[in-house]
Symmetry: C2
Subunit: 286 residues, 2 copies
DNA sequence: TCAATAGATGCATACTATTAATCAATTACT
DNA sequence: AGTAATTGATTAATAGTATGCATCTATTGA
């Protein structure tokens, strides 16, 4: 309405442009000015001239209307082409270096599924799932939780990650006592079920002399590659760093420590939902 | 509506939050989904769960509604506090180094007037004024144009601007022939009434050996200060560069060339309009 | 199994938007 | 200067839409 009046200069022509009568447009303008509590146009004789407040409102309208049109168009695209957005997170680890490769695979095999990363799922995976803020979480362990389905994705092992020239790098495996005197990097001090602290460090009674929390798991790997500290991480999280020999991975304990990862989804998800499809694809990919 | 339903989880509570009945909200949601041609929420038993398309629409709504609220608030501020936006330009010269000082003065003396710079006024000042895209233009000359009022702002003179160590800098005044062999910088090749080309260079029959167009007048001054070329500009445009001795200004012609500047405004502007106030303030300031 | 609660639906009514007819003021034309 | 054309504004009638009431069916919790 504002744009039409401004462009045509008269209510008559603007009304014609909008497909209504001049009288209807006059009523609309008057009602809009009543609701806003001020004039959008000053009346000069028979001419309408925008007030500066009216001009600002028109500028806002010129931004908002296209945004609404895009939103409607996108809505129709998503609905008609069955594009589903699945919100995804990784529990415990802020570890995403693998995501571009995985997204590439997803783009080819499941073009109707888009992923949206939810970083807060790292700290509060179960709560985020239950409260509907995230649809799929890649999490360690194979937990039996009411209301949540757990689909196996990967059987992995926990490994000690060191600099490639670290003295521990040559050992076939490490004991907990080997960590004494080491600077130990961890992504979280709060011990979680299935993880290295509960299963390996704590039972030995030994304590690394310095524990540093680095929340971004990928950053831990980079620090180690640079010679700062060691950490125990799931092998899949450091696979590419191992391959390009920037770090070494040493078995933890004589018998090694295995760690399974699964995809957590709400059990109310329909059988063929995008969340379940994503979980299957994760299992395939790892 | 989308946010309320999402936050509360039930139509009943969302309706309560919105101040309508559950039935009204159910109708609203159904009508919105009918208009959009798809579902905003999937129905799972008695539960409503956002579709991914519905979630995207909610995100857009969460951006747009605050923007609308700000626009309404700003409208009320502008209307009730009588803040008027005046669109302003400078004809011929892209020359704005003086604006921050001027804006500071305006902010103190006329807090109800805001300036908005319209750069396109430089090239097409009269058309921009007549077509209502700019309210005030500072322009050379004192033109009698139908529909446009011309208020005197400044009596100035055209000066030759050179590097401070340029050989012409010691002369009391220059003749047109002095420009032979010089690289001449101009902001526009299209000769305009009142300007140096029509009044000084063309009548002499001489031509600078090289003419370069540099559209930004402030840039011309900087080039000259760096030793590249000369130009003839209105003194006010180089006043500060003269003061800090980065350029020299030499009188043009034995009798000098005066150039008046005026503020052009539509003659339909009311007597005490913000545009006329701005024009008065310009005259005071220069 | 039953009661409570959810969303959906049909219908009546309140409310709002539009149009027709007309008015007063302005502007263009003769 | 007078007149015709055009403008925006206004009143009243009517068409269209939004809301609430009553009730329904389905689901879920006790």
């Amino acid at each position: 309405m504002l744009k039409a009046i401004n462009e045509t200069g008269t209510l008559r022509q603007a009304a014609y442009m909008l497909g209504i009568t001049q009288s209807a447009l006059s009523h609309r303008l008057a009602e809009a000015e009543r609701r806003l509590g001020g004039l959008l146009f000053e009346r000069e004789g028979r001419k309408l001239r925008q007030t500066s407040a009216g001009r600002a409102m028109t500028q806002t309208a010129n931004q908002i209307i296209p945004a609404l049109q895009r939103a409607e168009f996108d809505f129709q695209q998503m609905t008609n082409n069955e594009i589903t957005v699945v919100r995804f997170g990784v529990a415990a680890y802020s570890c995403y270096h693998w995501l571009p490769s995985f997204l590439k695979v997803m783009s080819k095999k499941e073009p109707g599924i888009q992923l949206e990363l939810v970083a807060s799922a790292t700290q509060n995976p179960l709560q985020n799932i239950q409260e509907g803020r995230v649809d799929v979480v890649l999490a360690p362990g194979h937990l039996a939780i009411p209301g949540i389905d757990s689909m196996p994705v990967l059987q992995d092992e926990l490994v000690l990650v060191t600099h490639s020239k670290h003295e521990l790098a040559t050992k076939p495996f490490i004991e907990a006592t080997d960590l004494e005197g080491e600077e130990y990097l961890t992504y979280s001090k709060s011990a979680q079920p299935g993880f290295e602290y509960e299963r390996f460090i704590r039972p030995s009674g030994t304590v690394p002399h310095l524990v540093t929390v680095v929340e971004v798991t990928d950053a831990i790997v980079e620090l180690i590659a640079a010679g700062f500290g060691v950490s125990i991480l799931s092998r899949w999280a450091v696979q590419s760093a191992i391959k390009n020999k920037s770090v070494s991975a040493i078995q933890v304990g004589k018998d090694s420590l295995d760690l399974d990862w699964s995809a957590l989804i709400r059990d109310s998800e329909p059988p063929q939902s995008a969340a379940r499809v994503l979980s299957s694809r994760l299992a395939e990919w790892f």
